[in-house]
Amino acid sequence: MRYIKLIKRLIYVFFKTSLQQDISFRFDFIVRLINTAISLAAGIGAIAIIFSKTHSVNGWDFYSTMAVTGMFMFIQSLKNLFIGPSLDSIAGLGGELWTGGFDFTLLKPVPTQLYISIRNWAPLTLIDLVISLIVIIYSFVHVYSDFSINSLLIFIIAIFSSLIILYSILLILSSLAFWYLGTPVLWIFNSVMETGRYPVRVYPFVFRFILTWIIPVGLIVSIPAEALMAKADVHEVLFGLVFGIVSYIAAVLFFKLSIKKYSSASS
Protein backbone atom coordinates (compact mmCIF):
# COMPACT_ATOMS: atom_id res chain seq x y z
CA MET A 1 0.00 0.00 0.00
CA ARG A 2 2.76 2.43 0.90
CA TYR A 3 4.44 1.45 -2.34
CA ILE A 4 1.43 2.49 -4.39
CA LYS A 5 1.22 5.79 -2.52
CA LEU A 6 4.87 6.40 -3.31
CA ILE A 7 4.30 5.69 -7.00
CA LYS A 8 1.38 8.09 -7.05
CA ARG A 9 3.36 10.87 -5.45
CA LEU A 10 6.36 10.32 -7.70
CA ILE A 11 4.19 10.38 -10.81
CA TYR A 12 2.57 13.62 -9.64
CA VAL A 13 5.92 15.32 -9.08
CA PHE A 14 7.54 14.08 -12.30
CA PHE A 15 4.48 14.98 -14.36
CA LYS A 16 4.36 18.47 -12.92
CA THR A 17 8.03 19.24 -13.58
CA SER A 18 7.79 17.88 -17.12
CA LEU A 19 4.75 20.04 -17.81
CA GLN A 20 6.53 23.11 -16.48
CA GLN A 21 9.49 22.41 -18.73
CA ASP A 22 7.24 21.97 -21.73
CA ILE A 23 5.22 25.15 -21.47
CA SER A 24 8.21 27.37 -20.83
CA PHE A 25 8.92 27.45 -24.56
CA ARG A 26 5.70 29.00 -25.76
CA PHE A 27 6.29 29.04 -29.49
CA ASP A 28 7.36 25.41 -29.52
CA PHE A 29 4.39 24.48 -27.33
CA ILE A 30 1.88 26.00 -29.73
CA VAL A 31 3.57 24.54 -32.78
CA ARG A 32 3.45 21.14 -31.11
CA LEU A 33 -0.30 21.43 -30.71
CA ILE A 34 -0.53 22.17 -34.44
CA ASN A 35 1.80 19.23 -35.09
CA THR A 36 -0.57 16.89 -33.25
CA ALA A 37 -3.44 18.02 -35.46
CA ILE A 38 -1.39 17.61 -38.65
CA SER A 39 -0.10 14.16 -37.65
CA LEU A 40 -3.65 13.02 -36.99
CA ALA A 41 -4.76 14.38 -40.35
CA ALA A 42 -1.83 12.62 -42.02
CA GLY A 43 -2.56 9.31 -40.30
CA ILE A 44 -6.25 9.26 -41.12
CA GLY A 45 -5.61 10.96 -44.46
CA ALA A 46 -3.26 8.16 -45.48
CA ILE A 47 -5.96 5.55 -44.88
CA ALA A 48 -8.60 7.69 -46.59
CA ILE A 49 -6.34 8.08 -49.63
CA ILE A 50 -5.58 4.36 -49.79
CA PHE A 51 -9.24 3.41 -49.55
CA SER A 52 -10.33 6.07 -52.05
CA LYS A 53 -8.50 3.93 -54.61
CA THR A 54 -9.49 0.48 -53.40
CA HIS A 55 -12.23 -1.10 -51.29
CA SER A 56 -10.31 -3.58 -49.28
CA VAL A 57 -6.69 -4.45 -48.63
CA ASN A 58 -6.33 -8.16 -48.00
CA GLY A 59 -9.82 -8.32 -46.49
CA TRP A 60 -9.48 -5.19 -44.35
CA ASP A 61 -11.91 -2.38 -45.11
CA PHE A 62 -11.64 1.31 -44.25
CA TYR A 63 -13.03 1.22 -40.72
CA SER A 64 -11.26 -1.91 -39.56
CA THR A 65 -7.96 -0.53 -40.84
CA MET A 66 -8.75 2.68 -39.00
CA ALA A 67 -9.34 0.67 -35.82
CA VAL A 68 -5.84 -0.79 -36.19
CA THR A 69 -4.38 2.68 -36.75
CA GLY A 70 -6.34 3.94 -33.74
CA MET A 71 -4.96 1.12 -31.63
CA PHE A 72 -1.47 1.89 -32.95
CA MET A 73 -1.88 5.55 -31.99
CA PHE A 74 -3.19 4.57 -28.55
CA ILE A 75 -0.26 2.29 -27.74
CA GLN A 76 2.23 4.66 -29.30
CA SER A 77 0.94 7.59 -27.24
CA LEU A 78 0.98 5.53 -24.04
CA LYS A 79 4.59 4.71 -24.82
CA ASN A 80 5.46 8.32 -25.63
CA LEU A 81 3.66 9.60 -22.56
CA PHE A 82 6.25 8.31 -20.10
CA ILE A 83 7.93 4.94 -20.81
CA GLY A 84 9.67 6.19 -23.95
CA PRO A 85 11.08 9.49 -22.66
CA SER A 86 12.00 7.95 -19.29
CA LEU A 87 13.99 5.05 -20.69
CA ASP A 88 15.45 7.32 -23.35
CA SER A 89 16.98 9.53 -20.66
CA ILE A 90 19.18 6.58 -19.73
CA ALA A 91 19.92 4.52 -22.78
CA GLY A 92 19.18 7.17 -25.39
CA LEU A 93 21.63 9.39 -27.17
CA GLY A 94 23.56 11.43 -24.63
CA GLY A 95 21.61 9.66 -21.89
CA GLU A 96 22.85 8.93 -18.40
CA LEU A 97 24.89 5.92 -19.45
CA TRP A 98 26.92 8.18 -21.72
CA THR A 99 27.36 11.01 -19.27
CA GLY A 100 27.79 8.94 -16.11
CA GLY A 101 24.74 10.56 -14.53
CA PHE A 102 23.42 7.08 -13.80
CA ASP A 103 25.53 7.15 -10.60
CA PHE A 104 23.03 9.54 -9.08
CA THR A 105 20.09 7.53 -10.33
CA LEU A 106 21.39 4.42 -8.59
CA LEU A 107 21.75 6.36 -5.34
CA LYS A 108 18.13 7.53 -5.27
CA PRO A 109 16.12 5.93 -2.41
CA VAL A 110 13.56 4.58 -4.89
CA PRO A 111 13.57 1.20 -6.68
CA THR A 112 15.75 1.91 -9.73
CA GLN A 113 13.57 0.17 -12.28
CA LEU A 114 10.50 2.07 -11.11
CA TYR A 115 12.37 5.36 -11.11
CA ILE A 116 13.78 5.02 -14.62
CA SER A 117 10.39 3.97 -15.97
CA ILE A 118 8.37 6.96 -14.80
CA ARG A 119 10.67 9.88 -14.35
CA ASN A 120 10.20 11.77 -17.63
CA TRP A 121 6.81 12.67 -19.05
CA ALA A 122 5.55 14.22 -22.23
CA PRO A 123 2.31 15.79 -20.95
CA LEU A 124 1.16 16.94 -24.39
CA THR A 125 0.90 13.30 -25.43
CA LEU A 126 -2.28 13.14 -23.35
CA ILE A 127 -3.96 14.92 -26.26
CA ASP A 128 -2.79 12.17 -28.63
CA LEU A 129 -4.13 9.62 -26.19
CA VAL A 130 -7.59 11.19 -26.17
CA ILE A 131 -7.60 11.52 -29.95
CA SER A 132 -6.60 7.89 -30.39
CA LEU A 133 -9.48 6.82 -28.13
CA ILE A 134 -11.88 8.87 -30.26
CA VAL A 135 -10.54 7.21 -33.42
CA ILE A 136 -10.92 3.75 -31.87
CA ILE A 137 -14.49 4.40 -30.70
CA TYR A 138 -15.46 6.00 -34.00
CA SER A 139 -14.23 3.08 -36.06
CA PHE A 140 -15.58 0.57 -33.56
CA VAL A 141 -19.10 1.97 -33.96
CA HIS A 142 -18.84 1.58 -37.73
CA VAL A 143 -17.48 -1.95 -37.77
CA TYR A 144 -20.39 -4.29 -37.33
CA SER A 145 -19.59 -6.93 -34.77
CA ASP A 146 -21.48 -8.80 -32.07
CA PHE A 147 -19.59 -7.53 -29.07
CA SER A 148 -20.31 -9.41 -25.87
CA ILE A 149 -18.97 -9.62 -22.32
CA ASN A 150 -16.81 -12.44 -23.57
CA SER A 151 -15.16 -10.40 -26.26
CA LEU A 152 -14.71 -7.52 -23.81
CA LEU A 153 -12.82 -9.89 -21.52
CA ILE A 154 -10.67 -11.09 -24.41
CA PHE A 155 -10.00 -7.51 -25.41
CA ILE A 156 -8.89 -6.56 -21.90
CA ILE A 157 -6.51 -9.54 -21.76
CA ALA A 158 -5.17 -8.64 -25.22
CA ILE A 159 -4.48 -5.00 -24.41
CA PHE A 160 -2.99 -5.91 -21.02
CA SER A 161 -0.55 -8.40 -22.55
CA SER A 162 0.24 -5.98 -25.37
CA LEU A 163 1.32 -3.28 -22.91
CA ILE A 164 3.38 -5.74 -20.86
CA ILE A 165 5.14 -7.02 -23.98
CA LEU A 166 5.87 -3.49 -25.13
CA TYR A 167 7.28 -2.47 -21.76
CA SER A 168 9.39 -5.61 -21.50
CA ILE A 169 10.89 -5.13 -24.93
CA LEU A 170 11.71 -1.50 -24.21
CA LEU A 171 13.30 -2.44 -20.90
CA ILE A 172 15.39 -5.19 -22.50
CA LEU A 173 16.55 -2.89 -25.29
CA SER A 174 17.46 -0.16 -22.81
CA SER A 175 19.37 -2.67 -20.69
CA LEU A 176 21.34 -3.65 -23.79
CA ALA A 177 22.94 -0.21 -23.62
CA PHE A 178 24.75 -1.31 -20.45
CA TRP A 179 26.55 -3.97 -22.47
CA TYR A 180 27.05 -2.22 -25.73
CA LEU A 181 26.82 1.53 -25.86
CA GLY A 182 26.80 2.48 -29.50
CA THR A 183 23.80 1.73 -31.62
CA PRO A 184 20.57 3.22 -30.44
CA VAL A 185 18.68 -0.09 -30.61
CA LEU A 186 15.59 1.66 -29.29
CA TRP A 187 15.44 3.60 -32.55
CA ILE A 188 15.43 0.43 -34.61
CA PHE A 189 12.53 -0.80 -32.55
CA ASN A 190 10.70 2.50 -33.00
CA SER A 191 11.12 2.29 -36.78
CA VAL A 192 9.82 -1.26 -36.81
CA MET A 193 6.91 -0.24 -34.56
CA GLU A 194 5.73 2.03 -37.40
CA THR A 195 4.68 -1.07 -39.32
CA GLY A 196 1.96 -1.54 -36.70
CA ARG A 197 0.05 1.32 -38.31
CA TYR A 198 -1.48 -1.22 -40.69
CA PRO A 199 -2.69 -4.77 -40.05
CA VAL A 200 0.29 -7.11 -39.95
CA ARG A 201 -1.48 -9.43 -42.40
CA VAL A 202 -0.91 -6.85 -45.15
CA TYR A 203 2.82 -7.55 -45.25
CA PRO A 204 4.50 -10.30 -47.30
CA PHE A 205 5.40 -13.56 -45.64
CA VAL A 206 8.99 -12.86 -44.53
CA PHE A 207 8.03 -9.62 -42.85
CA ARG A 208 4.89 -11.05 -41.29
CA PHE A 209 7.04 -13.76 -39.75
CA ILE A 210 9.48 -11.21 -38.32
CA LEU A 211 6.68 -8.99 -37.07
CA THR A 212 4.94 -11.85 -35.31
CA TRP A 213 7.80 -13.76 -33.77
CA ILE A 214 10.96 -11.69 -33.62
CA ILE A 215 9.67 -8.17 -33.08
CA PRO A 216 6.09 -8.90 -32.00
CA VAL A 217 4.39 -5.79 -33.40
CA GLY A 218 1.53 -8.11 -34.31
CA LEU A 219 1.00 -9.07 -30.67
CA ILE A 220 1.33 -5.47 -29.56
CA VAL A 221 -1.00 -3.75 -32.03
CA SER A 222 -2.85 -6.06 -34.40
CA ILE A 223 -4.23 -8.59 -31.91
CA PRO A 224 -5.78 -6.04 -29.52
CA ALA A 225 -7.36 -4.36 -32.55
CA GLU A 226 -8.71 -7.70 -33.77
CA ALA A 227 -9.98 -8.45 -30.28
CA LEU A 228 -11.82 -5.17 -30.26
CA MET A 229 -13.64 -6.15 -33.43
CA ALA A 230 -14.32 -9.60 -31.95
CA LYS A 231 -12.23 -11.14 -34.73
CA ALA A 232 -9.35 -12.37 -32.62
CA ASP A 233 -8.40 -15.99 -32.16
CA VAL A 234 -8.68 -16.80 -28.43
CA HIS A 235 -5.60 -19.00 -28.62
CA GLU A 236 -3.54 -16.16 -30.01
CA VAL A 237 -4.70 -13.86 -27.21
CA LEU A 238 -3.82 -16.42 -24.52
CA PHE A 239 -0.48 -17.04 -26.18
CA GLY A 240 0.09 -13.28 -26.04
CA LEU A 241 -0.61 -13.28 -22.32
CA VAL A 242 1.88 -16.08 -21.67
CA PHE A 243 4.40 -14.40 -23.94
CA GLY A 244 3.89 -11.14 -22.04
CA ILE A 245 4.43 -12.69 -18.60
CA VAL A 246 7.52 -14.58 -19.73
CA SER A 247 9.03 -11.55 -21.40
CA TYR A 248 8.33 -9.39 -18.35
CA ILE A 249 10.15 -11.79 -16.05
CA ALA A 250 13.01 -12.04 -18.54
CA ALA A 251 13.19 -8.26 -18.84
CA VAL A 252 13.35 -7.67 -15.09
CA LEU A 253 16.05 -10.32 -14.64
CA PHE A 254 18.04 -8.98 -17.55
CA PHE A 255 17.78 -5.43 -16.22
CA LYS A 256 19.09 -6.52 -12.81
CA LEU A 257 21.94 -8.38 -14.46
CA SER A 258 22.76 -5.37 -16.66
CA ILE A 259 22.91 -2.92 -13.77
CA LYS A 260 25.74 -4.97 -12.29
CA LYS A 261 27.61 -4.38 -15.53
CA TYR A 262 27.47 -0.59 -15.07
CA SER A 263 30.93 0.84 -14.69
CA SER A 264 30.20 4.56 -14.58
CA ALA A 265 31.54 7.12 -17.00
CA SER A 266 32.52 10.70 -16.55
CA SER A 267 34.25 13.60 -18.18
Partner: protein, 263 residues
Protein backbone atom coordinates in the same frame (compact mmCIF):
# COMPACT_ATOMS: atom_id res chain seq x y z
CA UNK B 1 32.46 32.46 -48.87
CA UNK B 2 35.20 30.05 -48.01
CA UNK B 3 35.07 26.92 -50.16
CA UNK B 4 38.37 25.41 -49.08
CA UNK B 5 37.33 25.63 -45.47
CA UNK B 6 34.05 24.00 -46.43
CA UNK B 7 35.80 21.08 -48.10
CA UNK B 8 37.99 20.49 -45.07
CA UNK B 9 34.89 20.54 -42.89
CA UNK B 10 33.22 17.93 -45.08
CA UNK B 11 36.27 15.68 -44.81
CA UNK B 12 36.39 16.12 -41.04
CA UNK B 13 32.71 15.25 -40.65
CA UNK B 14 33.10 12.28 -42.95
CA UNK B 15 35.91 10.74 -40.91
CA UNK B 16 34.05 11.37 -37.70
CA UNK B 17 30.88 9.79 -39.07
CA UNK B 18 32.59 6.75 -40.55
CA UNK B 19 33.78 5.94 -37.05
CA UNK B 20 30.22 5.78 -35.78
CA UNK B 21 28.61 4.40 -38.92
CA UNK B 22 26.38 1.93 -37.07
CA UNK B 23 24.56 4.90 -35.61
CA UNK B 24 23.84 6.39 -39.03
CA UNK B 25 22.80 3.05 -40.43
CA UNK B 26 20.25 2.80 -37.67
CA UNK B 27 18.93 6.20 -38.62
CA UNK B 28 18.67 5.40 -42.30
CA UNK B 29 16.99 2.08 -41.53
CA UNK B 30 14.06 4.08 -40.16
CA UNK B 31 13.89 6.33 -43.23
CA UNK B 32 13.88 3.36 -45.56
CA UNK B 33 11.37 1.29 -43.63
CA UNK B 34 8.59 3.90 -43.75
CA UNK B 35 8.22 3.96 -47.57
CA UNK B 36 8.61 0.18 -47.58
CA UNK B 37 5.45 -0.12 -45.47
CA UNK B 38 3.50 1.80 -48.11
CA UNK B 39 5.03 -0.28 -50.88
CA UNK B 40 3.60 -3.40 -49.25
CA UNK B 41 0.21 -1.80 -48.67
CA UNK B 42 -0.03 -0.82 -52.34
CA UNK B 43 1.22 -4.17 -53.61
CA UNK B 44 -1.52 -5.80 -51.58
CA UNK B 45 -4.14 -3.24 -52.65
CA UNK B 46 -3.42 -3.39 -56.37
CA UNK B 47 -3.42 -7.20 -56.45
CA UNK B 48 -3.43 -8.32 -60.06
CA UNK B 49 -5.27 -5.30 -61.46
CA UNK B 50 -4.26 -1.68 -61.57
CA UNK B 51 -5.12 1.45 -59.60
CA UNK B 52 -5.54 4.61 -61.68
CA UNK B 53 -3.07 3.29 -64.23
CA UNK B 54 -0.52 2.02 -61.70
CA UNK B 55 0.02 -1.73 -61.79
CA UNK B 56 1.69 -3.73 -59.06
CA UNK B 57 5.05 -3.45 -60.81
CA UNK B 58 4.61 0.32 -61.20
CA UNK B 59 4.18 0.66 -57.45
CA UNK B 60 7.21 -1.53 -56.79
CA UNK B 61 9.44 0.49 -59.15
CA UNK B 62 8.09 3.74 -57.78
CA UNK B 63 8.83 2.85 -54.18
CA UNK B 64 12.26 1.36 -54.85
CA UNK B 65 13.24 4.68 -56.42
CA UNK B 66 11.43 6.51 -53.66
CA UNK B 67 13.60 4.87 -51.01
CA UNK B 68 16.68 5.79 -53.03
CA UNK B 69 15.70 9.44 -53.66
CA UNK B 70 14.43 9.92 -50.12
CA UNK B 71 17.74 8.67 -48.80
CA UNK B 72 19.68 11.09 -51.02
CA UNK B 73 17.57 14.13 -50.22
CA UNK B 74 16.77 13.54 -46.54
CA UNK B 75 18.24 16.39 -44.49
CA UNK B 76 19.54 15.58 -41.02
CA UNK B 77 21.57 18.62 -40.10
CA UNK B 78 18.46 20.73 -39.50
CA UNK B 79 17.82 18.77 -36.30
CA UNK B 80 21.41 19.26 -35.16
CA UNK B 81 21.27 22.96 -35.96
CA UNK B 82 18.04 23.32 -33.98
CA UNK B 83 19.51 21.45 -31.01
CA UNK B 84 22.77 23.37 -31.13
CA UNK B 85 21.02 26.70 -31.08
CA UNK B 86 18.97 25.45 -28.14
CA UNK B 87 21.92 24.27 -26.05
CA UNK B 88 24.35 27.00 -27.07
CA UNK B 89 26.86 24.98 -29.11
CA UNK B 90 25.90 27.18 -32.04
CA UNK B 91 28.09 29.92 -30.56
CA UNK B 92 31.22 27.90 -31.39
CA UNK B 93 30.09 27.63 -35.00
CA UNK B 94 29.63 31.38 -35.11
CA UNK B 95 33.14 32.00 -33.84
CA UNK B 96 34.75 30.14 -36.75
CA UNK B 97 35.90 32.16 -39.75
CA UNK B 98 33.44 30.19 -41.87
CA UNK B 99 29.67 30.38 -42.29
CA UNK B 100 27.72 27.95 -40.04
CA UNK B 101 25.83 26.66 -43.10
CA UNK B 102 29.02 24.83 -44.12
CA UNK B 103 28.82 22.86 -40.90
CA UNK B 104 25.30 21.76 -41.86
CA UNK B 105 26.21 20.98 -45.47
CA UNK B 106 29.24 19.02 -44.33
CA UNK B 107 27.31 16.81 -41.95
CA UNK B 108 24.55 16.22 -44.49
CA UNK B 109 26.99 15.13 -47.20
CA UNK B 110 28.93 13.01 -44.72
CA UNK B 111 25.75 11.27 -43.51
CA UNK B 112 24.82 10.35 -47.06
CA UNK B 113 28.25 9.02 -47.95
CA UNK B 114 28.46 6.97 -44.76
CA UNK B 115 25.08 5.36 -45.45
CA UNK B 116 25.87 4.30 -49.04
CA UNK B 117 26.87 0.67 -48.34
CA UNK B 118 23.95 0.03 -46.03
CA UNK B 119 21.45 1.67 -48.37
CA UNK B 120 22.78 -0.27 -51.34
CA UNK B 121 22.40 -3.59 -49.54
CA UNK B 122 18.93 -2.67 -48.28
CA UNK B 123 17.61 -1.60 -51.69
CA UNK B 124 19.14 -4.65 -53.36
CA UNK B 125 17.54 -7.00 -50.83
CA UNK B 126 14.16 -5.35 -51.21
CA UNK B 127 14.44 -5.45 -55.00
CA UNK B 128 15.13 -9.17 -54.90
CA UNK B 129 12.31 -9.91 -52.44
CA UNK B 130 9.65 -8.00 -54.41
CA UNK B 131 11.14 -9.01 -57.82
CA UNK B 132 11.42 -5.55 -59.35
CA UNK B 133 11.42 -5.08 -63.15
CA UNK B 134 12.75 -1.73 -64.29
CA UNK B 135 12.89 -0.20 -67.77
CA UNK B 136 14.31 3.30 -68.10
CA UNK B 137 14.79 5.78 -70.93
CA UNK B 138 18.20 7.43 -71.18
CA UNK B 139 17.02 11.05 -71.55
CA UNK B 140 14.74 10.61 -68.56
CA UNK B 141 17.71 9.52 -66.48
CA UNK B 142 19.62 12.65 -67.44
CA UNK B 143 16.73 14.97 -66.57
CA UNK B 144 16.21 12.96 -63.39
CA UNK B 145 19.76 13.69 -62.24
CA UNK B 146 19.19 17.40 -62.75
CA UNK B 147 15.87 17.33 -60.88
CA UNK B 148 17.39 15.24 -58.11
CA UNK B 149 20.12 17.81 -57.49
CA UNK B 150 17.55 20.61 -57.48
CA UNK B 151 15.37 18.58 -55.09
CA UNK B 152 18.33 18.06 -52.79
CA UNK B 153 19.08 21.79 -52.67
CA UNK B 154 15.42 22.64 -52.11
CA UNK B 155 14.84 20.10 -49.35
CA UNK B 156 18.05 20.98 -47.55
CA UNK B 157 17.61 24.76 -47.73
CA UNK B 158 13.99 24.55 -46.67
CA UNK B 159 14.73 22.43 -43.61
CA UNK B 160 17.80 24.48 -42.72
CA UNK B 161 15.89 27.77 -42.92
CA UNK B 162 13.21 26.31 -40.67
CA UNK B 163 15.85 25.28 -38.16
CA UNK B 164 17.34 28.78 -38.16
CA UNK B 165 14.05 30.10 -36.80
CA UNK B 166 15.32 28.68 -33.50
CA UNK B 167 17.58 31.75 -33.33
CA UNK B 168 14.43 33.64 -32.42
CA UNK B 169 12.34 31.03 -30.65
CA UNK B 170 15.06 28.93 -28.95
CA UNK B 171 13.28 25.62 -29.48
CA UNK B 172 12.19 24.49 -32.91
CA UNK B 173 11.76 20.69 -32.86
CA UNK B 174 8.00 20.81 -33.36
CA UNK B 175 8.19 22.91 -36.52
CA UNK B 176 10.73 20.49 -37.99
CA UNK B 177 8.34 17.61 -37.27
CA UNK B 178 5.52 19.43 -39.06
CA UNK B 179 7.81 19.87 -42.04
CA UNK B 180 8.48 16.10 -42.07
CA UNK B 181 4.81 15.22 -41.79
CA UNK B 182 3.95 17.47 -44.74
CA UNK B 183 6.71 15.96 -46.85
CA UNK B 184 5.39 12.54 -45.92
CA UNK B 185 1.85 13.50 -46.94
CA UNK B 186 2.42 15.64 -50.04
CA UNK B 187 5.69 14.45 -51.53
CA UNK B 188 4.58 10.97 -52.46
CA UNK B 189 5.37 8.65 -49.59
CA UNK B 190 1.80 7.55 -48.91
CA UNK B 191 0.93 7.41 -52.58
CA UNK B 192 2.57 8.63 -55.81
CA UNK B 193 1.68 12.33 -56.04
CA UNK B 194 -0.25 12.04 -59.32
CA UNK B 195 -2.63 9.58 -57.64
CA UNK B 196 -3.53 11.99 -54.82
CA UNK B 197 -7.17 13.16 -54.69
CA UNK B 198 -7.70 16.05 -57.13
CA UNK B 199 -7.91 19.02 -54.76
CA UNK B 200 -4.92 17.95 -52.70
CA UNK B 201 -2.93 17.26 -55.85
CA UNK B 202 -3.62 20.70 -57.30
CA UNK B 203 -2.66 22.44 -54.08
CA UNK B 204 0.38 20.19 -53.83
CA UNK B 205 1.52 21.20 -57.30
CA UNK B 206 2.27 24.68 -56.02
CA UNK B 207 3.73 23.77 -52.64
CA UNK B 208 7.43 22.96 -52.39
CA UNK B 209 7.00 19.47 -50.91
CA UNK B 210 6.36 17.54 -54.10
CA UNK B 211 9.49 18.99 -55.68
CA UNK B 212 11.66 17.69 -52.86
CA UNK B 213 10.92 14.04 -53.51
CA UNK B 214 8.07 12.85 -55.70
CA UNK B 215 8.78 14.98 -58.76
CA UNK B 216 12.21 13.56 -59.70
CA UNK B 217 10.85 10.01 -59.47
CA UNK B 218 7.96 10.81 -61.78
CA UNK B 219 10.46 12.30 -64.22
CA UNK B 220 12.55 9.14 -64.08
CA UNK B 221 9.59 6.84 -64.65
CA UNK B 222 8.43 8.96 -67.59
CA UNK B 223 5.01 9.70 -66.11
CA UNK B 224 5.06 13.37 -67.12
CA UNK B 225 4.29 15.14 -70.40
CA UNK B 226 6.77 17.66 -71.78
CA UNK B 227 4.80 20.70 -70.59
CA UNK B 228 4.38 19.20 -67.11
CA UNK B 229 8.10 18.55 -67.01
CA UNK B 230 9.08 22.10 -67.96
CA UNK B 231 6.57 23.60 -65.56
CA UNK B 232 7.75 21.31 -62.77
CA UNK B 233 11.38 22.29 -63.16
CA UNK B 234 10.27 25.94 -63.33
CA UNK B 235 8.41 25.65 -60.02
CA UNK B 236 11.35 23.79 -58.51
CA UNK B 237 13.78 26.57 -59.44
CA UNK B 238 11.33 29.26 -58.31
CA UNK B 239 11.00 27.61 -54.89
CA UNK B 240 14.75 27.32 -54.53
CA UNK B 241 15.08 31.04 -55.23
CA UNK B 242 12.25 31.76 -52.78
CA UNK B 243 13.78 29.62 -50.05
CA UNK B 244 17.19 31.25 -50.44
CA UNK B 245 15.61 34.69 -50.04
CA UNK B 246 13.73 33.38 -47.00
CA UNK B 247 16.94 31.94 -45.59
CA UNK B 248 18.78 35.25 -45.90
CA UNK B 249 15.91 37.06 -44.26
CA UNK B 250 15.72 34.66 -41.30
CA UNK B 251 19.49 34.61 -40.93
CA UNK B 252 19.85 38.41 -40.87
CA UNK B 253 16.99 38.85 -38.44
CA UNK B 254 17.84 35.84 -36.30
CA UNK B 255 21.52 36.50 -35.83
CA UNK B 256 20.72 39.89 -34.29
CA UNK B 257 18.20 38.27 -31.98
CA UNK B 258 20.34 35.30 -30.94
CA UNK B 259 21.34 35.11 -27.31
CA UNK B 260 23.58 32.22 -26.39
CA UNK B 261 22.45 29.74 -23.78
CA UNK B 262 24.53 27.34 -21.70
CA UNK B 263 28.25 27.31 -21.10
Amino acid sequence: MNFRGGLVLIKKSLFGFVASRAFFWTLSFGWMLAPLIYMFVWIEASGNGSISGYTKNDFITYYVFFIFVNQLTYPTSNWTVGDNIFNGTFSYWLLRPIQPIYEAIASDIATKVVCIPFVAVFILTVSIIVKVKITLIFTNVLIFILCLILAQILRFMFAYSNALLALMTNKIGALLSINETLVFLLAGQIIPTDLLPDTIRQIGNFLPYKYMLGFPIEVLLGKLSQSQLIMGIGIQVAWIAGVIVLHNFIWNKGIKHYTSVGG
